[in-house]
């Protein structure tokens, strides 16, 4: 196995272009996951048993099946029923939906971790439901959620190569097309790995900081 620095330097700009798409997909996917996760969490808390059960089953189903198959489902099945999506949009929705189920658990855990006494105190001081949420519950529930959510953000970032399977031109797909046209696999594959590793290691350092800053103090 020989490593060609010249070739590695040549393909780096192409890979960085792919990295841009990777990052865009991650950020958009995270936004979808954050919002949908809240919807799932609220539906599971619904007082209507049927709604709560259905949401619970849906969350479990999405968590129990592979993201890749869900991406295929969105990419191939939706056009058949008349919904045409560009590949990137399909990927963002798929990743967002998948990670929304994880985010929902974080939200649920965070809200349930607020002590009962806080709810009772809010009622005793005659706060409205809205005031209770914005002034009492959320300020206590949100900070401990931040490290856990950031953890899933990092996990989602690492899953973005799956988008190459539905033709999104992210970093892995760029590497594959370089490899297929030059018949050199060592440099593109290794570089993609190295880029992911560098970003992950930096993110992990950031995560540790978030944990120290916002983590639940026990």
């Amino acid at each position: 196995m020989d490593w060609d620095w010249q070739f590695a330097r040549e393909i780096t700009p192409i890979l960085l272009q792919g990295l841009k798409v990777t990052l865009i997909a991650t950020i958009l996917g995270a936004a979808v996951a954050a919002v949908l996760g809240l919807v799932f969490a609220l539906l599971r808390r619904s007082s209507n048993r049927v709604v709560a059960r259905t949401a619970g089953f849906l969350v479990q189903f999405i968590r129990g099946t592979p993201l890749l198959v869900q991406l295929y489902f969105i990419f191939y099945v939706l056009p058949d029923i008349g919904i045409r999506l560009p590949a990137l949009a399909a990927g963002v929705i798929g990743m967002g939906l998948h990670y929304a189920t994880y985010a929902a658990e974080v939200y649920r855990g965070g809200i349930e971790a607020v002590a009962r006494g806080q709810w009772e105190a809010a009622r005793a001081t005659n706060l409205t439901m809205r005031q209770t949420w914005t002034h009492v519950i959320l300020p206590q529930a949100l900070p401990p959620m931040i490290p856990a959510l950031a953890n899933y953000l990092l996990a989602m970032f690492k899953e973005t190569p799956l988008l190459s399977a539905i033709t999104v031109l992210e970093m892995m797909n760029q590497a594959k097309s370089v490899a297929n046209s030059t018949y050199r696999y060592v440099e593109p594959m290794t570089l993609v790995g190295v880029f992911f590793l560098i970003i992950s290691l930096i993110s992990v350092a950031g995560l540790r900081w978030l944990e120290r800053r916002y983590g639940r103090r026990t």
Partner: protein, 218 residues
Amino acid sequence: MGDWTGYLLLILDGAWVTVRLTVMGCALALVVAFIAGLGRIAPWAPVRWLATAYIEIFRGTSIFVQLFWIYFVLPLTGVALTPMQAGVLALGLNVGAYGAEVVRGAILAVPRDQYEATVALNLTGWQRLRHVILPQALPLMLPTFGNNAIELLKATAVVSLISLSDMTFQAQIVRSQTGNTILPFVTILVIYFALSLLIAAIMGRIERRVTRGLDGVR
């Protein structure tokens, strides 16, 4: 549509490959998790560094990148692997890295006085681990191991991209041959979900078995 039974058999063939991958991947992951997890708390610094490097590399990049690296780059060093071997290796090493952290955390969670007692009783290193530490650490590991096993099952879908004929690959074949998208993908989503429920049920049984006699201790 009359040929659907034939296509269903094709998908079931793929399901069998998925099951084999999951079982072998889990077996490898378990072994690797214990080796690396114990390595991280070994008394020798070089062993700790090696284990840490392995864990950070495999947790910092995605299974997809690792699989492609093992399948396309490793053969260039003279290690030629079949898709099945590459798949099991990638799955086992990836999930093993996550498992290693679980092993480490569980062993460190065993109270310190238990170690001191084993030293006082003059047990050898192996005896300490086998008779005192592991029986207490194992129940702590199992719930997370169950989740890891389900993550591994979900990750098996990725091997379809190195043309190993697992369930996802077969569904793609059915899709390209029939043009029908809903049936193959819904079928495999349901089978994946059933498999993940099965894993959860099996892990629940093992957990009950291992924690037998520990009631009241915790």
